[in-house]
Symmetry: D2
Subunit: 360 residues, 4 copies
Amino acid sequence: MSSTFGTLFRTTTFGESHGRAVGAIVDGCPANLPLTEADIQPQLTRRRPGQSALSTPRNEIDQVTILSGTENGITLGTPIGLSVNNRDQRPGDYGDMATVPRPSHADYSYLMKYGVKASSGGGRSSARETIGRVAAGAIAEKWLKTRFGGVSIVAFVSSVNSIAAPEMDVERLSRELVDTNLVRCPDAETAQRMIALIEQARDAKDSLGGTVTCVCSGFPAGLGEPVFDKLEAKLAQAMLSIPAVKGFEIGSGFGGTLMRGSQHNDVFVQKDGRLGTTTNYSGGVQGGISNGEPVVFRIAIKPVATIGMAQETVTMEGSPVTLEAKGRHDPCVLPRAVPIVESMTALVLADAALRQEYRI
Amino acid sequence: MSSTFGTLFRTTTFGESHGRAVGAIVDGCPANLPLTEADIQPQLTRRRPGQSALSTPRNEIDQVTILSGTENGITLGTPIGLSVNNRDQRPGDYGDMATVPRPSHADYSYLMKYGVKASSGGGRSSARETIGRVAAGAIAEKWLKTRFGGVSIVAFVSSVNSIAAPEMDVERLSRELVDTNLVRCPDAETAQRMIALIEQARDAKDSLGGTVTCVCSGFPAGLGEPVFDKLEAKLAQAMLSIPAVKGFEIGSGFGGTLMRGSQHNDVFVQKDGRLGTTTNYSGGVQGGISNGEPVVFRIAIKPVATIGMAQETVTMEGSPVTLEAKGRHDPCVLPRAVPIVESMTALVLADAALRQEYRI
Amino acid sequence: MSSTFGTLFRTTTFGESHGRAVGAIVDGCPANLPLTEADIQPQLTRRRPGQSALSTPRNEIDQVTILSGTENGITLGTPIGLSVNNRDQRPGDYGDMATVPRPSHADYSYLMKYGVKASSGGGRSSARETIGRVAAGAIAEKWLKTRFGGVSIVAFVSSVNSIAAPEMDVERLSRELVDTNLVRCPDAETAQRMIALIEQARDAKDSLGGTVTCVCSGFPAGLGEPVFDKLEAKLAQAMLSIPAVKGFEIGSGFGGTLMRGSQHNDVFVQKDGRLGTTTNYSGGVQGGISNGEPVVFRIAIKPVATIGMAQETVTMEGSPVTLEAKGRHDPCVLPRAVPIVESMTALVLADAALRQEYRI
Amino acid sequence: MSSTFGTLFRTTTFGESHGRAVGAIVDGCPANLPLTEADIQPQLTRRRPGQSALSTPRNEIDQVTILSGTENGITLGTPIGLSVNNRDQRPGDYGDMATVPRPSHADYSYLMKYGVKASSGGGRSSARETIGRVAAGAIAEKWLKTRFGGVSIVAFVSSVNSIAAPEMDVERLSRELVDTNLVRCPDAETAQRMIALIEQARDAKDSLGGTVTCVCSGFPAGLGEPVFDKLEAKLAQAMLSIPAVKGFEIGSGFGGTLMRGSQHNDVFVQKDGRLGTTTNYSGGVQGGISNGEPVVFRIAIKPVATIGMAQETVTMEGSPVTLEAKGRHDPCVLPRAVPIVESMTALVLADAALRQEYRI
């Protein structure tokens, strides 16, 4: 049941990397939304590996098929079935995982949970599981754009290891700008330094972490729920549910703990016929509910656990063993994380928006 | 519906600060657990305001009553009703909120969501709502201790503004140690400096933020769910659902983005008949599932929005106005946040544990 | 968790008959609805025992208190806490149940489920649990009437044992009419015969069952969900969740199995600017969704298990024993079931209506 | 969201009759269960149309594919994706539905709900949607049989129109016996009369309804939840969610309303080391929880709405029109309903069993 997300806009994903297919059912998408595979494919394509020398060369095509829920390119209001075939179903390649838990992978904890020594290790912890989310997120985003003209959800790589992008002008952000370089950092000069560092880590058979920032603008005030389903709480859950994410902060975040209340409070002013704030340390939410300012948050992504160099570990029975990864691996997953972050954000916002529609 | 948390161990809270009562229904607590008010009161007492010169002098007693779900001090397996009366039901005191939104409070966003100009402003965003959570969390913790001998959940104040505690020895941590000083920082020397800073902020009619760290030890491997309900994802949701929390990080968190994979990977070794890791950058979870190491995370709490000094804002209609808070206010809520963090953690862990019980 | 009902209009009940209180939290009731205890009390009063010589003389007052969720008589959109104190908390009265399972009561199955020998037996299977539902249902009904002018939900006793009321003219139905006699059968002549039979059963220390019919009119077409949450499926769940209910049928029900499709099909015609049907064998729903015709269903209530005469049974350990109920008991619960049926219906319809509000 | 059923054993279905595929995701099936397509196919084959001269000759093959959740024929504990391709995707065949609502079909109510004039009418109200349920139910049943040796779920046709089977000896019931004739009535003589009546209705281009009885034996006491998720309440929901079902009764059902309490009460006796009852008017449940006796219930299925003869109706705009169904249609869906009833029952029981596993 942990594979379902959302209250009204509900996504249920399925699929391991070595089964027949991965995908999702989206239940609760309103009827009458124009929707075809062409609306979904672009974010899947941004997500897929093998896009550049920076990422793993497993060239999966990841073509999505809509199995149900639409007719003549229009949603029916019924569940939308989404499927992407797996090209490469060779559990054998990962044969060791059944007996040797890879450091900082889920092989051991999955075994403790399920009691199955699967050759695919922590099957659902694979990045491939995120395909269903990205497909669903693209639908959520399409609905949000249809429902609220002018909304925008843009994520970008804000740091790789210690190389951090300068503060961005939120107004200039766009996916086009983000995609002008391989590392998806909208600051061109920083991007070049990030790329150089990633190439160096790749050659050293090592991996790098960093941060992704996401900016959501154009959303109305009033979205989100008080108490347990605060908008920031659901965003935090959504982000920490992405593989390799270790932290989340909204608005001023951890940095805000160094400020005083008198500095940190966002002063209300009149803005184009609505109330707005002069600063946005709140990150667009107050009391769990959007206030009309951009929703801005940042996540921490660890250096991925799969590295090319040999590592010490023990077998499931406790005997020491040296593990050497085969093939080439992604030295830095941050560029590919960008569409995943955007997709999970769209799922949170679409659900919040639908939950807000039914006011008396 | 946003007032319910959990899948099997489910807590539903109710109550505004100015209604008759606040409380919760806990549904799904297993039967046969010894339980009386005496198990619940201590954490409520740690949470309540007016405990020291550091916190607000509104001396609420917060005595809990169990309304149902137990007989002769034993749980029946049926819903446990919990209620704490409000002593002080004077909406008039906050009369301005209906027309003047306080900076960085939820008055404006609640109005946008609900369309009600309540004299109590963002009623459910009040810290008083957390009483139901703390009562429920105490029950969850009692069950966890009964189910898994030797488990421990201890939170403490790890920084106030720029004053940070040194790295703690996790083995020494206990609530007794944490409670040896008013600020609930287990390092005595740091605590004194924190207290001095808080007193200074109080005198300046300002407020301070900081961080709270939580350490959960003694829990088995295998708790948590893959995908959307990863253990860290539910913890993140739980923490960001606490008023004033702006960030969450688990294990290495944001700091881990500065490491390389080869440094960050937690090497498996044999430990007392189970597998363990030499380091714990993962923070006790891998792939969303506990691995048997302590679950360690940290949250950021903003400087609270309610301050004594005058602030500029506008009325709901947009006219500039100066707002002056009446009475005295908590200059730093971090010490009182400690039992709230522990309670929400217990709710997450009890739910994860029950969801893991039903393996074939 | 089984104590929560609804997706958007969510009711969570608590309370055993011998604890401090029974009640509910209603989460998801829209804001801005005028609501005070006076809106809730009438149905509670119709539900309570001791209303007549026909029912048990335990004269419980059942006064409801709203604990939260309203201010100045207006709902805030936040959870509405509802509580009714138990006057009579004497588990001792039912002392035998811990060791002797009463025939057709839940004492034995509760013990098998929870493993607790509670002196109150199957505590949540008590009719007193329905107080929370009736209070919540009154709120749901108030909202429905505010949202859709002219809606009406009226239940009545359609048979007691073999005495059945003649076909009712749906247009004439009203609660006032239903309440013109003690047995709540709107046909006066039939009511007299029912009352005579109940008095006879009471004197024989026996009990009687029967059927309750419910008619919901004035609701728009389009309410309900396809597949698992069909309107009739949620009504069936709601009705079978009421203690002592053993059957549910909608529209033509079991009798419809004797018809042919050509007779049973409801022919569409034009009616006041919408489509309607000439007959209503469908009972107001088609494919799980309301079609604008009255929603009409009927439930079977067994003769209650608590009877005054001595009965054979065995102890929990299997030794034969004779059980004699103390005090006087309700020989026929059908009149009191009427407001419970109406309340559960209101909960289903309010939830369905809210789920339908968020169309694109 | 209405396409998900279950709390722990969760099934989400997708698919219209004229899309690419129908199917389901089963989330929450325990790990380590042996499972291949061969476990699922038999019930799908029993469900499919075109099995005999009695049913529609659209010879769909309905071959199921497991997309995920298993490895080497063993469940992983992760979501099981299930898909069955549609052979026949010709929305054109049903072209009229977009403008002419068929009597007692969902075309009109779907349009009122979704606002889409789909050529497939009430797409999810099609019997083809039940394929996903049957596939999921087969998995649930496999798990139940693995978890509880000797359990059995058998449904059969107990009446067609006014031809009713005599009381069955529950001990003799088996699917093999049920399948000895085309109409799935285990009494051979009654079956012949039913078949003759169905053939006559088919030739008259009309349709017939009837009842299906289901007997579940070998299940332990203690399954089910009190209050809203009573075992009988979830069964009622499950049954009323099946297309064309208009009624549900458990144990004595509607007939029990004619008995007195002293007759109806099931007397407890000692049985093979557990408590049992001498009669089973309760139908295996008391207070919503199984008592160890067979769970027995009966449902009413209306004569299907699709008939060959011409019918009067109006267009969506209200103009009178005569509707003539093309092709041949199922004159009586009861035989095919048998595996659907068994599947939904398995989903309810598997969920109840998992919810009961986690007692302290």
